[in-house]
């Protein structure tokens, strides 16, 4: 980030940049304060990235380093040149890690009109359905209310190594109706598949030498220390 470069931008471009950085600046702020706020935000952002300890990714960034434009979006003033949505009724889900998935959806304009006009319509929600197998029976579900304007959501999923599906639903009075089903996703494991105690001593030693502590990988849940202690109590 460079003050000279920021000073070269119009006040409108500075405000656009601030908005893009999720800075909530009061309107008609003096230019010097806008620049200052942007610089501070960049600095904080850089610190956050450094603190993330994500060395492999930081190093990979180096091959893309080029110019002082790196940190300023050169097309600030350009409106996005593609449509934001495709006017279809659909929901997709992508697993992100053992705890989170990303969902995005859309509802066709004519469907929205019809749904919102339905008697007793009170809003949309996501139903998160868990099953033990890919095509298995649901074992639990929960709901997340979403706004009419929402079209994506990060969903916290309570169980690793489980299968989930999302239903985009609408509520009408005391009833609900499914508008679209997502694909089925599986959350990955975050814990070892086999408990170290169950492995032969050589295998357990090699697992330890492979950096389990460094990666903070732990035993499966039935071998958590509290459960083991419980076993001793028995």
């Amino acid at each position: 980030m460079n003050v000279e470069r920021l000073n070269g931008l119009s006040i409108e471009a500075l405000y656009a940049l601030a908005e893009k950085m999720a800075l909530d600046l009061p309107p008609s702020l003096e230019r010097i304060f806008v620049v200052e706020a942007i610089l501070e935000a960049f600095e904080e952002d850089n610190e956050d990235r450094k603190a993330s300890g994500d060395a492999a990714i930081h190093i990979e960034e180096k091959k893309f380093s080029g110019s002082e434009l790196d940190e300023i979006d050169a097309s600030l003033d350009a409106a996005p040149c593609i449509a934001r949505r495709y006017n279809e009724t659909v929901i997709h889900c992508i697993p992100r890690d053992p705890e989170w998935a990303f969902a995005f959806w859309d509802v066709k304009d004519e469907d929205v009109d019809a749904l919102c006009a339905a008697e007793g319509f009170s809003g949309f929600f996501l139903r998160v359905i868990r099953s033990a197998l890919h095509d298995g029976k649901p074992v639990m579900s929960f709901e997340i209310p979403v706004g009419d304007e929402d079209d994506h959501w990060y969903i916290h999923l309570p169980e690793q190594d489980s299968y989930y599906r999302l239903d985009l639903c609408m509520r009408c009075g005391s009833k609900s109706k499914v508008i679209a089903h997502s694909n089925v996703i599986r959350t990955p494991r975050a814990l070892l598949a086999d408990a170290l105690d169950d492995l032969e001593s050589d295998a357990a030693a090699l697992a330890a030498l492979s950096g389990l502590d460094h990666l903070k990988i732990q035993n499966p849940p039935d071998r958590h220390p509290s459960r083991i202690m419980g076993g001793f109590d028995d």
């Binding site: 952002d45 990235r49 993330s52 300890g53 994500d54 060395a55 492999a56 990714i57 930081h58 190093i59 990979e60 960034e61 180096k62 091959k63 893309f64 380093s65 080029g66 110019s67 002082e68 434009l69 790196d70 940190e71 979006d73 050169a74 097309s75 996005p80 040149c81 593609i82 949505r85 495709y86 997709h92 992508i94 697993p95 992100r96 890690d97 053992p98 995005f104 859309d106 994506h152 990955p188 494991r189 975050a190 814990l191 070892l192 598949a193 086999d194 492995l199 032969e200 050589d202 295998a203 030693a205 090699l206 697992a207 330890a208 030498l209 492979s210 950096g211 460094h214 990666l215 990988i217």
Partner: protein, 528 residues
């Protein structure tokens, strides 16, 4: 018998940055810098080791987009022109630093580097780096792997096996057309893996890949030899496992070897330090400051006060770090060996462009590794292919969904700065599958149109775009690449729906995005 094996695996990749519509384009510098500081110096290292009969083994994954750009005549010409500009700047620097006992020799160092690159590229290799790599590939010293066509982060697209298949098929076909044989190894971009990927990879004759330690150790069942031996999926596909200690010693930005104060500082560059009126002709549009590659300072410390770079001191440090690396791997192997039925294997995968480009002395470090290992019987460098031939039986385990990114999963490529793009890339995929089903057996112009559509789909999937959007570097460039792919595809889709094809526009687009000439759009047909 040796105590352990080391497999160095370098992943050479750059996104498709070819921009023929512009006379010069900032992002094309990524390619030119990598050729100058990594690929040509690596080739010089290989030649030197061969000439001096130093045993060496290296596995190099070449991404299909990089292969396409290295084989492109326009980019070859542009690289030669760029070298000419660098040489002019070197001459000016020699003049500017004349009489300075510290900086003049450094300016001379860059003059020599660019002159050597110019001579090697234009005369020795006749502009053909791929052919030079093939020479060592055929000799067996260097193993070449392929990677996903546009380096898509594959786990995100797992709901679309047709898309994964296209990423693999385009890569394998591209590799075969350049090197005359099929690849055995496949580098999964960012070590992005998910259970089930092995079936698609095996279907194309691919035999092995590399996965993160996390992914392997969370595999089912837990690997019995830790990360010290590969694991095999039930279908026989082998996964080599990244070694945490070997990679951390180089990767760690703060404690890894490249952070040593004696090494050349990457950030201090005359493109930013010298007055605009002097440096203007060598930066973008005469006014946008860029890295020029001329860097005169050592890392020194965290502050802005730097001491001048001392190449001899840095070279000695590279040798010291190579010795340290080998010492630590030998110690590690000795600890693991008593628990194993074979010498432990430590797989050290890195980005190739780390060496020489960011870590200026990285190539010297590699050289020192091979030279120092020559004198010991403890450690042996192997390629993954060699190891694969030697050890055909491996413990059966399927790695878990994982990557080498922060957190170990998909968090880098799926977060608030970049999640919007999947709405578009998924839609393109759906449309492409629809087109492939509607037009299953086209030829002539319509086949060309459909193949170009398939290229645009692949370009929209490059993991570089979400990566750049997240990092904030060249974010606008990344966004434009996605928008261009979506716009081009949409136009093709509309043309096909209206049964009219704009031949002139199509030809222009084919010339611009000219990668994967042998692509076959039919791969997107839905599997029934």
């Amino acid at each position: 018998m040796e105590t352990g094996n080391i497999a160095l695996v370098l992943n050479a990749h750059l996104p498709f940055v070819r921009q023929p519509d512009y006379t010069r384009f900032l992002e094309e510098r990524w390619l030119f810098e990598s050729i100058s500081e990594t690929y040509l110096p690596l080739l010089r290292l290989f030649a030197k080791l061969e000439a001096e009969r130093v045993p060496w083994r290296l596995t190099l994954a070449l991404s299909p987009t990089l292969v396409s750009m290295l084989g492109d005549a326009l980019l070859r010409d542009r690289y030669t022109d760029w070298l000419g500009e660098q040489l002019k700047l070197a001459d000016r620097e020699l003049e500017r630093c004349a009489g300075d006992p510290v900086f003049h020799p450094l300016a001379q160092l860059y003059k020599d580097l660019y002159q050597q690159n110019y001579d090697d590229f234009t005369v020795l290799h006749a502009g053909n780096i791929l052919s030079a790599l093939d020479f060592y590939y055929k000799k067996g010293r260097l193993e070449l792997m392929t990677s996903a066509a546009t380096q898509a982060f594959l786990p995100i697209y797992r709901a679309f096996p047709e898309s994964i298949a296209c990423q693999i098929e385009a890569a394998v076909v591209s590799f075969r057309s350049v090197f005359g044989r099929s690849p055995s190894g496949f580098w999964t971009p960012h070590l992005g893996w998910y259970p089930g990927l092995e079936e698609l990879l095996s279907a194309y004759g691919l035999q092995y890949s590399v996965v993160s330690t996390r992914g392997a150790m969370l595999g089912k069942p837990t690997p019995r030899q830790g990360s010290y031996a590969p694991v095999a999926c039930p279908n026989g596909f082998t996964n080599y496992i990244r070694d945490v200690a070997a990679t951390e010693s180089v990767w760690s930005e703060t404690e890894g070897y490249p952070a040593d104060p004696a090494y050349r500082d990457f950030y201090r560059d005359i493109g930013f330090d010298l007055p605009l009126e002097y440096i203007g002709p060598y930066i973008e549009q005469g006014q946008i400051r860029t890295f020029t590659g001329f860097k005169y300072w050592a890392i020194t410390g965290k502050g802005q006060d730097k001491i001048p770079y001392d190449p001899d001191l840095a070279a000695a440090k590279a040798v010291e770090h190579a010795e340290n690396f080998l010492y630590n791997r030998a110690r590690q192997a000795k600890k693991a060996l008593p628990h194993m039925d074979r010498p432990p294997l430590m797989v050290a995968p890195y980005d190739a462009e780390l060496f020489g480009h960011w870590w200026h002395e990285g190539i010297q470090w590699l050289e020192a590794l091979f030279r120092k290992a020559q004198g010991t019987s403890e450690l042996n460098f192997v390629t993954l292919a060699e190891y694969q031939r030697q050890y055909t039986e491996n413990f059966e385990s399927v790695p878990e969904f994982s990557s080498w990114g922060d957190g170990g999963y998909a968090g880098i490529w799926l977060e608030k700065s970049n999640d919007w793009l999947y709405r578009h890339s998924f839609k393109l995929l759906e449309y492409m599958m629809e087109l492939a089903d509607r037009f299953p057996d086209e030829s002539g112009l319509r086949e060309r149109v459909l193949n170009q559509a398939a290229r645009e789909v692949l370009l929209s999937q490059a993991a570089d775009w979400p990566f750049l959007l997240r990092s904030g570097k060249s974010g606008s460039f990344a966004r434009k690449q996605i928008e261009d792919a979506v716009t081009n595809f949409s136009r093709i889709y509309e043309m096909l729906c209206a049964n009219t094809v704009g031949t002139e526009w199509l030809t222009k687009l084919e010339k611009r995005n000219n990668l994967f000439p042998h692509i076959n759009y039919r791969i997107f047909r839905r599997k029934r």
